[in-house]
Amino acid sequence: MNPPTRKAPSPVAFIVIAVLVGVHVLAWQGTGFSPGALVEGWRGMADFLDQAFPPDLGVLGDSLDAAVITLYIGLLGTTFSIPFALLLGVLASRVTTPNSWTYQIARSILSVLRSVPDVVFALIFVTAVGLGPFAGVLALVFHNTGVMGKLWAEAMEETDPGPREALRVAGASGAQTAVNAVLPAVLPQMVGLLLYRFDVNVRSSLVLGLVGAGGIGFLINQSIKLFRFDQMVTHIIVVVIVVVLVDQFSAYVRRKLAT
């Protein structure tokens, strides 16, 4: 018996491929993508690497102190956003908020918080509270509320509708159903997402340091400005170790939660 013959690809597929290729050509030109420049400029990189190595381990103590600050920024930026993310998440989830006005408003607030990058929040808060880690914490709280609130709202919407229906039939209100059926069911996913956000926020707080919000990012920025690339490399090694450790920790806890 002959297998069914394969269908010829439709003209739509060719059009899609042609458009994708076209967009990539435009992007290549738009970004000034030029491998030649990279080859010609190898000497600049060689100079840079020559100055960067061996790393100056004399700043290791400062580096570790600043890394702890970076972790603190990521930690507070995550935990202090929990109450706001929880409130807005519950209000921005269809299963817990039947009122469509409330739902739309909560979703809009989350969208705004999410679409303003944390670096922009940091620049704003630096002007208010000055340079330092506190501005970084505030920036993360605002941005992370937007992201985590949305992730939590979506997790709530994916819960089994059965227990909600059962409690509704028993006369429970929307808020009672949220507290007694939705949140208990979704708690492991919420904790998993929280750890994932902690992981992301520690990495973000490095970037926030570059704009003056304290932590090890600030040291990296300073060493670049002073052309002390050997010190910068020490900071970057510490950053890599911290990021890997946080990543491993959050992956480990999430694995434990899944079982």
């Binding site: 059965g162 409690l167 009672q176 507290v179 208990p184």
Partner: protein, 227 residues
């Protein structure tokens, strides 16, 4: 009075599912509804409890109705006791439903005791067997303090011995004075435990009989008609 359903009609997208159903269950009575898939059994219950709005007809319920589902619908991660407590939510304020009071927990414990699961109160609902979970769901219905229990295929997902245990529990609750209306798929369980049996066919009551007088032929014809 228990529950009195009169002239219930319901159509979905132009297709008539209930064509005027009359049904009464008195306090202390256990009535089983038999019928093929699509005969309208579940729709009767869902209309009765307010999950669906009938096109016409009336449902009179004395003292509130609680619902037990085929898919059980417990929160698997919560303890059996917390699941039972949540049956009381309808009479609690929001602030009382964040952490259940000692009184509610004690009442829920009594309900669990009535279904024979007081010793599993602290276990996560998801860890219990299917039959135990359905009994917890019945305890939740009891904690609602309803006088009428509506059970929509409560044992269709259970193995035969668990099914028998659950149906016999429903029968004993009727003995205690509740009005119990259960959709079943097992005529023999209906005959053994229910007082009255109602056969539903194409949205109409095809027959209504005492369990003792149940006519096997009539029951079989319910399922043949659907083929």
């Amino acid at each position: 009075m228990g529950i009195q359903i009169t002239g219930l009609r319901k159509s979905f997208a132009g297709k008539q599912v209930l064509a005027g159903v009359d049904l009464t269950v008195a306090p202390g009575e256990f009535v089983a509804v038999l019928g093929a898939n699509g005969s309208g059994k579940s729709t009767v219950l869902r209309c009765a409890v307010g999950l669906q709005r009938p096109d016409s007809g009336t449902v009179d319920i004395d003292g509130g109705a609680a619902m037990v589902f085929q898919q059980i619908h417990l929160v698997g991660r919560r303890s059996a006791l917390d699941n039972v407590c949540s049956g009381a939510l309808g009479r609690l304020k929001l602030r009382q439903s964040l952490v259940f009071s000692r009184d509610i927990r004690r009442e829920a414990m009594d309900c669990l005791d009535r279904v024979g699961l007081a010793d599993r109160a602290g276990d996560r609902a998801g860890r219990l067997s299917g039959g135990q979970q359905q009994r917890v769901a019945i305890a939740r219905a009891l904690c609602q303090r309803a006088k009428v229990i509506l059970a929509d295929e409560p044992v269709s997902a259970l193995d035969p011995s668990a099914a028998e245990q659950v149906v016999s529990l429903l029968a004993s609750l009727a003995e205690e004075g509740l009005a119990v209306l259960a959709v079943l798929h097992q005529p023999e369980l209906a005959q053994r435990f229910a007082h009255r049996i109602v056969g539903l066919n194409q949205g109409k009551v095809a027959f209504e009989t005492t369990a003792a007088a149940m006519d096997t032929q009539a029951v079989n014809s319910l399922y043949e008609g659907a083929r």
